[in-house]
Subunit: 795 residues, 2 copies
């Protein structure tokens, strides 16, 4: 039954299947009775139909997951997601520990950080290497079998049997992958880049950096690539790197119940985030052989505060990852120590002399960029509709597996049909060895060139489009291939398989780019154009990828590093820029669309430009539940157990006045800290004046991190409820505060720059009047006609 | 007389020679009666001998600049430098303007930003191109004349005449350059990188981004490179780019008294800083053909808050700059449109196949990195002593010019001697055309190989060390050359000429690196070692440069981009990392040394690790001079005129209580704002209740930016002194505040992440108790034995 209760999407499930506690499903961040403010000037979306107070019982959960339409509203912001806290809680325990530490201990910590980054890079590289070899082997077997079969039946005349064999083989691979993902760990579906973007942005996506996710992801990606889907293995590497980082840096595995008692200092969100950034960078580095691109990816997607040493460590992790992959692949290929194979995808070496570009080609590149932007927007739009359809109707794991198998079979059929009906025969070349040349109905000594494009891993196809000499491909072949692959890729992205969109995008773009180059050479026969259709394939690939994912600086550098040649930096930048501008005119980037479809409270770089008239007073949530310095245990338990509010941060005040007004702020305490305090019974008996408070250590908090138990699992007796709890030692005595008149952009800047989770709004007398959290800020965004406000709901 | 009054160093002079007002020389940032705190646990340096209360009169100024020893203490922090304010003052005027602006206007602003970045890139590229062509032409003339002369006198036997000719020519060039720099704009001396680092860090270095500085810098660098000094033209490009950016982005030139009435929105520190970052990046990009390296340089040295759009714009500026240089150079070289010449320095194309490295070479690279670190530290140490000597004794412009000329003559002499005494003859090659082959005493058809190294611009020498085939250089030649050039470069850096240290460092490193390669090939004759001394030259160059400047990520990328080949990324990173670790063990990086010698209050990335026991209470300056919302004009004028304090920021409080305690904070106003208010006589007459306050616009503040007049230039009559001034509209109503108990690292993080200038410390009741400024934070730094506190003084 638990399996049926699962939702489709990567965010659909609570923290733990068994423990659907309100802590994990409820609203976040210390607020009740949200006052909707400033409605007059907003374009209010339709009101949420989901009741905030509703408690989800297992029965209802099952009812919900029945194959009926799941309501979906784009103007919603989910309250289900919690935030990460990148601000250290500088309470007395923490300060005491820091003050005890000597200069040497800090140096040791620093060395530890370097060691961890090295390990992250090493393991990420190793995983990349494993995936590469496994895919190569499996796909190799498959293509050999199918090739033999086709060759056999070409003569005999029963090619439909070959088609069925191919389709069945593909579906089988994909089925295994899809079952693993859908039934064991749905969050491993897709490329994982949107999830990592959210994590680095500060949103806690449940189970995204767990060991199980990693295993499923790696296994899934091998299956889906070997299954011949229009997918790449590069995107998932980024997710894998992030999981490796989260695991290694904590020095333990909660899933395996193994604690190595190492790196305990790093068991908090702030430190973990840094390592996850490094892991993502290492993943990019391994995937594309682009260490600098990896660093820039991490920074572009994640960091808001730049720190020189951190960046340098991230770069180290990237370099080690790229080096490890390189080294092990060189052993695998029998050329130990020849480190010339820098990434999973290798664009082949572009010779700078033969592929020089001329000034008059720059307008052509810009046109291609615009084309890429339009095609990318079309891709995103189609995929957006498809994803909404999937969220509504295809949310049972069985259906998901069946869809994946269907796509695999269709992919095989389309490929087969295209190979079959094309009669684009080329002589077998000497230099450019096709791994699986298909003769089909071509004359002896010739091979079917359409087959090269389909009968190959996508990486190889990209490479041949970049490098094969002029005349290798027939324009019609290229056009039909680009169209077919475009549609297949649109259909494939968002399936419940673990797979990336980079390589299909590159492949589509390379195909139409090469076509563009061939057409240009017909119009203008200058040697620099007609001699290099591969150059246009590269530009087209960049344009298409840029149009879909809308990454900028990091993508430029990734592509430049993957080509191994800096000459193309300028045109690639121009193309990506054009693609982004044109694409943004129509629709957002693919990752942003998927983040939005999940109603994630994602914070952008800056507050919306026209939001200066909003102040903290309008933005904040109020009233706020506060505690006093010494609070009754019963009160705390009651507040924490209140499923309708589910506060996560509580300002601590000096005293509450008679009129129930909050007192002056003197600290901030988190739900997780209170839970640990309750668990360890850190109580003071009211009757006796003697302090029997147990001395807690920072270690107790670190051991509980990050899976703090729910309040329901902690038993507090009636006697204990009457005790008091002294919060002074555990609260953060100096939370960041802002006055009520602060403008939204100013609040936003403070919140974003410091990676806060709670920002207390105070009045002139330092009394707590409200609390600003991530969702309060993420609600406001730029719509077509100005500022829009999203609704909060518990979807 | 004014000329004599000048000080030696780049920070030695006030804002304007004529207007040595206390505003510009005084202490900063609203504090008086600084309480030295927490002395017990610090290693207190010797007490400053400079009296804080002292007023500097012109007479004293002249006395000071007499050629006596200027006291220098490394444990001082100068109060002379003001801070830039990267926090917008969100007062009513600003908010009203922002609220008036439509969505479209914000889009226009965004487009303007892009246009400005494009212009910055274009002009920076143009300047780089100009410098390159001028240097090439001038040096070409010089070498032709000297070569003819030497050839003539080799036969006749009067080579001393050639030597004198050479030395005189060099000295003449250098003299012109040094005179320009020393007498017109001393801040144009050196590479300008330390100054730009400080600017981006938030320290206002007087006159660093003025048009005059740019002109002097460009002219100076042409002279010093043409004069044959051991300098490069790359460092100054970074400074030039920054000046271009500061000029273009403001849409006016104060020096030329020309206001284009454009880009007025960008006339504040926050926006200007962003453009200066772009300018610095464009400079790096033009200098090394490294657009990505440029972006990373800007980020590594400057930014603390990373913003995706900003980074993308910086990248655009870099790309445009590199492209412009490339394009104009291709026209100059008669190959219009062939864009293969990406930077001022061109390392030549490294062929990835022939220069492959093997695994067993990595330990060798690491050894070279360590060697580079040691040699770099030695370089910095020697230069440090020399600079202290210069600060003490060589601070008259005439002396400085003479020293520069002496160095030029000695450089020529040493070069000549080395060419003369070496008899390392090589046959004239066919491929590697030496531009000025000197036959000297070699046989016909041969040339002197030592002459290639010296008788060339340093860029060409680097290139030939990288690419000339094995056997081109005699090991002894290389060793002697490296040693001689090392000493010359140490002596040269810090002269009053405009010149950079990148190229000499690369040249020294390339020389000993190649030597290392040759020695290795003697020990181990594997073909990959013996075949490629150029590879070791590259690694040596990286090691030496890394050991001197200690840049990390950006330098790796710059070198990779300059070689045009990503294969060397990993070894270069390893080498730079080793060089940095080894070098940091001995002494800081060269730029940091020079920043420290000027006692600049430079903020590092993080607070010292062991500073958790310090709180805002200990760090802050108190008591603070506050104003009330409606303040008497006389009081304001008196406070601003108080030369002993020279506050720059004043908290505005609701009311001061009877006991002279400060009231509750309700805003913050800056000296510059008050000056503008006083200048425009924004007064309310006390007698009449009618408001006659003139309506001020933001434009009035922008027009005055950045050269606000000193208080002395504003005449306030006795009647006016009795008027009141309402500050409500102009003050920032929501300054950032922290409670007194906040730990230093927390204060530091807030201050650094938001680029603040003033941070108000408040007590529990929101009453102002202190003010934290840049100097309060920069005072604390990690010494050898733990936390040290620097002294503040008005050096």
């Amino acid at each position: 039954m638990a399996n049926i209760a699962k939702k489709v999407s990567w965010s659909g499930r609570g923290e733990d299947r068994g423990e659907r506690t309100p802590l994990l499903n409820g609203t976040e961040d210390g607020k009740c009775n949200r006052q909707l403010s400033g409605g007059g000037m907003f374009h209010i979306g339709r009101l949420s139909t989901v009741d905030l107070e509703e408690e989800i019982t297992p029965e209802e959960d099952i009812v919900r997951s029945r194959p009926k339409e799941i309501p979906h509203n784009e103007k919603l912001l989910s309250l289900k997601f919690e935030s990460l806290d990148y601000d250290n809680s500088e309470n007395q325990l923490f300060l005491e520990e820091e003050r005890r530490m000597s200069h040497m201990s800090f140096r040791c910590l620093e060395i530890n950080r370097w060691v961890i980054c090295g390990l992250i890079g090493f393991f990420t590289g190793l995983i990349a290497c494993m995936i590469d070899i496994a895919v190569e082997r499996l796909a190799g077997c498959k293509y050999s079998v199918v090739k033999q079969n086709i060759e056999k039946f070409t003569e005999l005349g029963g090619l439909s049997i070959s088609l069925i064999l191919w389709a069945v083989l593909n579906s089988a691979f994909v089925m295994v992958g899809a079952i693993t993902v859908a039934f064991i760990e749905p969050i491993a579906a897709g490329s994982g880049i949107p999830q990592i973007k959210c994590y680095l942005n500060g949103v806690k996506i449940p189970r995204v950096v767990r060991l199980k996710t990693l295993v499923v992801k790696v296994f899934g990606v091998i299956c889906s690539v070997a299954g011949g889907l229009a997918v790449g293995k590069e995107g998932p590497m980024i997710h894998s790197g992030a999981v490796v980082a989260a695991g290694v840096s904590q020095g333990r595995s909660t899933s395996l119940k193994k604690d190595f008692k190492m790196f305990e200092y790093f068991r908090r969100d702030t430190e973990k985030r840094d390592f996850v950034s490094a892991g993502a960078a290492a993943g990019v580095s391994a995937a594309f052989g682009a260490p600098v691109g990896g660093v820039l990816f991490s920074l572009e997607e994640g960091a808001s505060f730049w720190n020189q040493m951190l960046t340098w460590r991230i770069f180290f992790a990237s370099m080690v990852s790229s080096f490890t992959l390189n080294f092990f692949l060189s052993i695998y290929h029998g050329k130990t120590g020849q480190l010339s194979n820098p990434g999973l995808i290798n664009f082949g070496s572009f010779d700078s002399d033969s592929l020089q570009y001329d000034l008059y080609e720059i307008p052509l590149f810009i046109i291609m960029g615009a084309l890429g932007g339009i095609l990318g927007a079309l891709f995103n739009l189609l995929n957006n509709w498809l994803t909404i359809f999937r969220i509504r109707y295809i949310h049972r794991p069985c259906l998901q597996v069946m869809e994946a198998m269907l796509v695999a079979a269709v992919t095989a059929t389309v490929s087969f049909a295209m190979i079959y009906f094309s009669n684009d025969c080329k002589p077998l070349g000497q230099d450019h060895t096709e791994e699986y040349p298909l003769q089909l109905f071509c004359a002896d000594g010739e091979y079917n060139s359409m087959a090269t494009a389909f009968f190959n891993t996508p990486e190889r196809s990209v490479r041949s489009l970049f490098h094969n000499p002029p005349g290798t491909y027939n324009p019609v072949t290229l056009g039909v291939f680009a169209l077919a692959y475009f549609l297949l890729a649109v259909w494939t992205y968002g399936l419940t398989v673990s797979a990336g969109v980079f390589i299909p995008s590159l492949l589509i773009g390379a195909a139409w780019g090469r076509l563009f180059g061939i057409l240009m050479s017909v119009i203008d026969s200058k040697p620099s154009i007609s001699g290099n259709p591969g150059k246009y394939a590269l530009i087209g690939a960049a344009a298409q990828l840029g149009g879909i994912v809308r990454m900028t600086l990091s993508l430029t550098v990734i592509l430049v590093e993957a080509t191994g040649n800096v000459t193309y930096g300028f045109p690639i930048m121009l193309v990506l820029m054009t693609a982004k501008i044109v694409g943004d005119y129509f629709v957002e980037g693919l990752y942003d669309i998927h983040i939005k479809l999940q109603s994630v409270p994602f914070l952008h770089w800056e507050a919306p430009a026209t939001s200066h008239w909003l102040t903290a007073r309008e933005v904040m949530s109020s009233p706020v539940t506060c505690f006093t310095r010494v609070e009754k245990v019963g009160t705390i338990v009651d507040v924490l157990s209140n499923t309708s509010t589910n506060h996560n941060g509580f300002p601590v005040v000096t005293h509450t006045t008679e009129h129930d007004e909050p007192g002056k702020i003197c600290g901030l305490i988190l739900r997780s800290q209170l839970i640990v305090l309750l668990k360890h019974k850190v109580f003071v008996e009211r009757a006796s004046s003697r302090l029997i408070q147990r001395k807690l250590q920072l270690k107790d908090f670190r051991d509980a991190y990050p899976r703090f138990p729910p309040i329901q699992s902690i038993h507090v007796s009636q006697d204990e409820r009457e005790c008091m709890m002294d919060l002074t030692e555990f609260m953060n005595p100096t939370p960041y505060t802002v006055p009520q008149e602060t403008s939204l952009p100013r609040v936003f800047k403070l919140f974003r720059a410091l990676g806060l989770r709670h920002l207390v709004v105070v009045d002139n007398e330092n009394r707590v009047v409200g609390l600003v959290t991530r969702k309060d800020l993420a609600r406001y965004h730029m719509g077509k006609d100005g500022l829009e406000e999203l609704h909060l709901a518990q979807t």
